[in-house]
Subunit: 360 residues, 2 copies
């Protein structure tokens, strides 16, 4: 059916995932600003418009340029301002409604000194992940940054942005508590700076939590595709995963309970998850149907190891070996769909290949 | 100096690494057939010709096509035959001296039924890694495969190929023993099939071991660039690493001993190594010089975590924070250079950008 490892995208599943979040955001009365770093595709981006989405988030200037060229007019670059990209930023700010993020005092200084067109600014808050952002209790730094922004006519301070990335290792039943804790760190900012908006929303909290007090917009990205990391934490079911990597089967080792596929780290990247049996897995394994859809993950099978182009599927039982029969392809549901999409740069959707964003 | 994360390639270091191996192979009286999956670059490939290299190994048909188009006339595809690529294989076999690998009985059956032009065949042996290949003691399978090959006029059985990938986690001082053990598993094959050649040689054994009894060719790839996985095992020194990812510094957190860079999993892939202090590290950190070279790895600094586009550099001391001063870039020596090259798809070498092989 294919001649190479092929990332199949199931449009119906993807649309269902988008629709769920668009509907939820509407019910909550918050803006749904999906993060497009997961799919990096103009084709997929257009699907979001059918659910009322007009504002998006991206993770780099090149990605903002890519989507702006397809008519997206309100883009947040949810990454600290990169001063080396100032020229491209200023050019883009002249074309669309651009929101930039500053993530530390020195980062804000760089921005203020280089900005040449009017832009909206969100200050990033570290709400518990320990990655980028100002600490929410560090009012001295926050006041200092806001003063800097207010003194420049081109930098329009609009509020705060956070990414609760520490939610990724948390099971669905603990997400609500993490969500409440995280938001409780942000709410004092809303009291101190009443006009500020709060931009929030990783996939686990956005999908699972019900209350988002004080939050103005949600920016999940992964939920459009989901993956086995999310499924293994109970954030989604495997049936909701919208992308599967079809991999040619190249060799079978019934005596060693292994099957080799053409599908490795250059296709999947190298993230993993811990499956229900406690195995470190690089992906769940399904059968490929003739129409390009795939079946349920096959019990007793998982992607045990990957090297550059090799994938080794562990087969737990003779019955499991039998279940994959003489199949020419196996479908890997990826551990981390965002990185798999980035590694592949291309989808097969509705019977044809479509390129995602080129490397920058 | 750059406007984006940029993979700098140091030609002098790379040539020294190539020259070392070419010289060693000559001294040993074996063929040096470098694996080109590490650099995936026509430009770098041409450097090898200066050291007498005429035969290469690659990891996929598209990669074989890419290098054949640049005049390489003797290519081994060191990956199990992919039946879905049979048309491309047959076309290529008509153009160059092509050597294919079969890795199991079913894999050999597929090849024999689809081959349409004369090709050389190596049977892959699992010499201890536990990945692909026939077990060296499984003479029944080996005889059966060789019979299949001998009955087809187009498949010219020439010998055996193995990849001792289990050498990657082994320190330099234990490599010789591993090498001797591995080769001792192969030597009975040489006795049983006297005309068969033995193709061997991952980077750790090729670089460190001195004796390769019965081995006819070495196929290391990573040694042209090396990386921190190799350095952490003592296979090379950090000064021999020929590629560094220059990453814009975006935010500093002196109170949290962290520096954020634009350089994440989409640039480096997601392999790691354990550094001398026992840290899980995604790369060593160096200063970028004005001419595009880089300094020694800075003690007390390492790349502690990466997400899609973020890299977080852990700074172990105020002195270390001081040592990176106000630098606009930091250079990451990657954990695994092959995957970093594949993720980037481009080098900056001698003052200009050059593309590597495009995604297939």
């Amino acid at each position: 059916m294919f001649t190479k490892p092929t990332l199949i995208l199931d449009e119906a599943k993807c649309r269902k995932n988008i629709e769920y979040m668009a509907h939820k955001a509407k019910q909550l009365g918050v803006t749904y600003r999906p993060h497009f770093k997961t799919h990096q595709s103009i084709v997929v981006g257009r699907w979001f418009r059918d659910y009322g989405v007009e504002r998006i988030a991206v993770s780099s200037i090149p990605m903002a340029q890519y989507f702006a060229a397809d008519g997206w007019g309100d883009i947040t670059i949810a990454f600290p301002f990169v001063k080396q990209q100032a020229d491209a930023v200023n050019e883009l700010a002249n074309q669309i409604s651009l929101t930039l993020v500053v993530s530390s005092i020195d980062n804000a200084k760089d921005l203020v000194s280089l900005v040449a067109h009017s832009v909206n600014i969100l200050i990033e808050i570290d709400s518990g992940q320990g990655r980028t952002g100002v600490q929410p209790y560090d009012l001295e730094s926050l006041d200092s940054i806001i003063n800097m922004l207010n003194q420049n006519l081109l930098t329009n301070f609009v509020g705060f942005l956070t990414h609760a990335g520490h939610s990724y290792g948390v099971s669905a039943r603990d997400i609500r508590e993490l969500n409440n804790q995280t938001i409780s760190r942000l709410l004092p900012l809303k009291q101190r700076y009443p006009s500020a908006v709060l931009s929030y929303g990783d996939t686990p909290t956005s999908v699972v939590a019900e209350t988002f007090i004080g939050i103005d917009e949600l920016r999940p990205g992964n939920n459009a595709f989901f993956d086995m990391q999310q499924a293994s934490n109970g954030i989604c079911s495997p049936e909701q995963i919208a992308v599967g990597l079809a991999c040619p089967v190249v060799a079978r080792y019934p005596n060693r309970n292994l099957v080799a596929i053409w599908g490795g780290a250059v296709h999947l990247s190298k993230d993993f998850y811990i499956d229900a049996a406690g195995n470190k897995s690089f992906g769940a394994i399904c059968r490929l149907n003739d129409d390009g859809s795939w079946g349920q993950p096959i019990g007793d099978l998982y992607l045990e190891s990957i090297s550059q182009e090799h994938g080794m599927v562990r087969v737990g039982s003779p019955k499991a070996m039998e279940s994959i029969g003489e199949d020419d392809f196996l479908v890997v549901l990826p551990a981390h769909s965002c990185l798999t999409v980035d590694a592949m740069g291309e989808f097969w959707v509705n019977g044809k290949y479509t390129k995602a964003m080129p490397r920058y």
